[in-house]
Point group: C2
Chain length 396, copies 2
């Protein structure tokens, strides 16, 4: 249980609260910060003075309200976007994407680089990443003194204690000292999170979701990931920090899943599962069976749209499986929103009908899912935005 033990902790919590409020709302007067945070004027004055002194926020005088008001000119505060930077690194299969966030959380520079991640052991990966990070920092003229951290967003299973990777399709074996090694090499704080968890955190920064207590983010694509927000915070278990929705079961006797089990949701809905099922019926070009390409997946969409009922049936079955999974999520959490995103939403329209029908058919009578399930357009920045937020939450 989290405890409130001393005034310093409270002051940092209030400080984070003020910074976060400025991040969400932009330019604000001190009194407006009070409206949002419910902090006392004295607390706000004290903390914002410190933040101004540290260069994290900027004061701007605005034109005196001609009607008079409180008798002195209003001062608006805003974040100094040049004060602090955060480098998010999305680790995918043989591809590394760098996203540089500024103080406000906006991505101000990015680059994608091919890297044979799946062939690299921990030492080699640390070397390759460090080199690429240095290049990115130099190319974008980022001042190291302003860089608050590096954050790895990883497809796969993160080990929270050891701060490394237990399993990921993007790397070779376990890499349990990845964070420590990268920290030593870069001399910067290093953070790590599962990419579906990053998605969930990124969603909490959007005005439409920022006020929700309980939110579920589902990430469709290579696998089927999930991030769970409870009381406004990311749920993380004691060891492997993942909510593995994709490995809950549709059927004990279902198709083989890459996790070794059978009948997991992912074994019907993951890209590899859909491609595998399609190749049982259609004469498809050969592929890396665990990682069909984006183009190959788009070709399956096209097959469906060309009126191939068997292909439509595969997507419809995937939708049914997903719908049962969503019904289970509703039964267990009854979240305010379930947001579905990830590259796999390219086929959302082909799964949607059976998904929603199955969800509604299996909902408890006293639950309602109207307006609960939403699609959120996917772009690769989502993982980076979430990772930048995670870094900010830990360093603000």
């Amino acid at each position: 249980m989290k405890k409130i033990t001393d005034t310093e902790l409270i002051r940092s919590a209030n400080r984070r609260d003020i910074i976060q409020t400025l991040r969400l709302h932009g330019e604000l007067a001190r009194v407006e910060i009070g409206d949002h945070t419910k902090l006392s004027p004295a607390t706000i004055t004290s903390i914002t003075s410190e933040l101004v002194q540290q260069g994290l926020i900027i004061e701007q005088n605005v034109v005196l309200d001609p009607s008079g008001g409180r008798g002195r000119p209003k001062v608006k505060l805003q974040l100094n976007n040049q004060a602090a930077f955060y480098l998010a690194i999305k680790l995918s299969i043989n591809e590394v994407r760098f996203m540089l966030g500024d103080t406000s959380g906006t991505i101000v520079a990015q680059a994608t680089q091919a890297m044979l991640t799946v062939t690299l052991n921990q030492e080699q990966l640390v070397d390759a990443l460090s080199k690429a990070i240095e290049e990115f920092i130099q190319h974008n003229e980022v001042k190291r003194s302003k860089l608050r951290g590096l954050g790895l967003a990883v497809q796969g299973v993160i080990e929270t204690q050891g701060k490394g990777i237990l399993w990921s399709p993007a790397i070779k074996g376990k890499q349990l000292e990845l964070v420590e090694q990268l920290q030593l090499k870069s001399q910067l704080p290093v953070f790590i999170a599962n990419d579906a968890n990053c998605l969930a955190v990124a969603l909490t920064q959007l005005p439409k979701y920022s006020k929700l207590d309980n939110l579920v983010a589902i990430q469709l694509g290579y696998g089927v990931g999930m991030g769970l927000i409870v009381n406004g915070e990311l749920y993380q278990d004691a060891s492997a920090a993942t909510t593995e929705f994709g490995h809950t079961k549709f059927s004990l006797n279902g198709p083989q899943c890459r996790c070794g089990g059978r009948g997991c949701i992912e074994a019907y809905v993951g890209d590899y599962a859909i491609y595998r099922d399609a190749s049982a019926i259609y004469n498809l070009p050969p592929t890396d069976m665990l990682h069909p390409s984006e183009k190959q997946m788009l070709d399956l969409n096209q097959l469906t749209e060309q009126d191939n009922p068997a292909m439509a049936q595969i997507f419809s079955q995937a939708g049914t499986v997903l719908g049962m999974g969503l019904a289970n999520i509703m039964a267990l959490f009854n979240p305010q929103k379930i947001v579905i995103s990830g590259p796999g939403i390219r086929a959302y329209e082909h799964m949607k009908e059976s998904m929603l029908r199955t969800l509604h058919d299996n909902l408890l009578p006293y639950h309602q899912a109207e307006n609960v399930v939403e699609k959120h357009n996917w772009d690769e920045d989502m993982a980076g935005l979430g990772m930048i937020t995670i870094m900010q939450q830990h360093t603000d």
Copy 2:
């Protein structure tokens, strides 16, 4: 997101923390309270003085350590068990059970009363409960001034906003103003919670579970309930405060569930489901099909023990279904413990083997469930103990 906004809130949190520490550990010196709570000596002195003044804790001088020590006699603090009382009321089908808790959380008086709850509408239930409460209070000579609250532990679905019951097998229809009406009539604060949630909270008060962040309590019996502890606190969603594990799905095409759906875990594992399946094979005495009696359920155990393979198969299938549900819980939460209790554990030994086998066969390779699943002996006090804790958490 919960916010820390002012010093009064912090003081109450610290106060609760100190009371709770004395509840868990009994008699403690101020310095020992500091070891447990990590609060500063000044904070502890200030808060404990207030608590002594209010009569909530008692100071006891203990013999001066002959070896000297800090130079003055040690004072031990303990809760004054006569300072505050809490009346938990377990509402079951046609039975009401009263459990009176003292300041330490110990049940010091109890009584069970037959009441035709299923025939009573809200007004009638409030009247009948009020009368029974008055009788209980008088019979046990409880001083009203020391009674901090009434707490209803209810089989069924609680509506947290309206503070009433959305659905329960124990009552007639919805009763959405039950709390308000009972509060008006009794002039006491009234609390309400689902009984499986009460079980989960009761478990957090046991030394073996009190330090866990994430814990799942499964309550087997009439239905299959669940309580979820996240970061040491009960998970409650925004509307209906239940984690309905029993209504997650084993199979979309499974047996009819009483919720209206098909193939829910409860439709295989709930008492009514097991009795229904058994009566398809054996010539069983007629029963209330939704609520077979404890004796009738024990008779099914006996059938199994008399070497009736069909009956053993029904329990084994229930175990398999439960095992898949537990595998899903592990995938989603990876909790530190899953504790199974409730009256339905009377058949635990008949379900255990298939349950654990299914769980282990369907576990993710990087999770481990050894020592995670445990049976906890059931008694009717568990719901009361949890409800008393919930009342204490709200009134301390």
